[in-house]
Symmetry: C2
Subunit: 150 residues, 2 copies
DNA sequence: ATAAATATTGATAATGAGTCTCAATTTAGT
DNA sequence: ACTAAATTGAGACTCATTATCAATATTTAT
């Protein structure tokens, strides 16, 4: 039993969920994989290894792995495509409130410069970028504090 | 005729496209909108204003507005959900090559600290973040240079 | 080890965003 | 106004993801 398995089983126990064969198979393939993957690729690999897990179960297991802290959703992704007007000032930094959806836009040339110089180290030519942070805005953060206290 | 209209018409002309009524309506609503929006919201607003543009046309017009430089896609979004393993070292910064799809992951605590202090100014509590940059990796960048020369 | 209670699974239908098709319409240039 | 070419609208379609539900597997208590 490896570290990942321990963590996953622990999470499942805490949540009154069961460590089943399909979940075990999925966990194993996830950690035999390049770091980045999508669900379809994962499903293909499971079948190529002659394991039998339904597509539905693979999809269902993703949120469990996320909640267990073993994987996370990568490269910010929302259900719908989002657009924004391009103003004279580009706002590359977005603070998105998980609670009320409010978006605070910030422009920081300092942050941008830092980013560009980091990319330069890898000889990577940046054409566009965006920085997305999720969390709680001031209002929602306060609200949540109150609720926790009461 | 306002500035946006000029830019859009200019782009359309350059591309041998026509400035039609539906495109005019869409342009207007886009710039009467909060900065961030999705297509469905846009479509609703058009209908609420008793204008008549089909959903298909609204979808079709988005890439034109993007190419004209008036709007851009916000908050990185791919067709499929992407996941990544959470390793002991979190890699919050991704350099994604537009050409070959290669992903370079970088961890910069300095960049992270800078980001956190910027959020702090807005009393925003960051729970998670990711920095995505698109561009060309070293190889593809070189390749493209050569092709341009030849 | 067995049974009862409960969670999980697989197969498939359903959903929802976004794209494609194509006949009918509109546009730009003469 | 006429013609050629681009655009539109309506709805069919795709593809990722989610929901449904009967059948199955797991856990816990015995």
């Amino acid at each position: 039993m490896n570290e990942h398995e321990k963590i996953f089983i622990d999470y499942l126990k805490r949540s009154d969920l069961k460590y089943t064969r399909p979940r075990q198979i999925i966990l194993n393939i996830v950690f035999n994989n390049p770091s980045h993957f999508d669900v379809e690729t994962l499903y293909d690999q499971i079948r190529r290894n002659n394991r039998d897990v339904s597509r539905a179960t693979v999809y269902r297991t993703m949120p469990l792995l996320v909640k267990s802290g073993l994987i996370k959703q990568s490269l910010r992704c929302q259900a719908k495509d989002q657009y924004e007007n391009v103003s004279d000032q580009d706002h590359h930094l977005h603070l998105v409130c998980n609670n009320c959806g409010k978006i605070i836009e910030i422009n920081s040339s300092e942050l941008e410069n830092r980013l560009r110089s980091l990319a330069e180290v890898h000889k990577f030519k940046i054409l566009d970028f965006s920085i997305g942070a999720q969390g709680l805005c001031r209002k929602c953060s306060n609200k949540r504090d109150k609720e926790t206290k009461s």
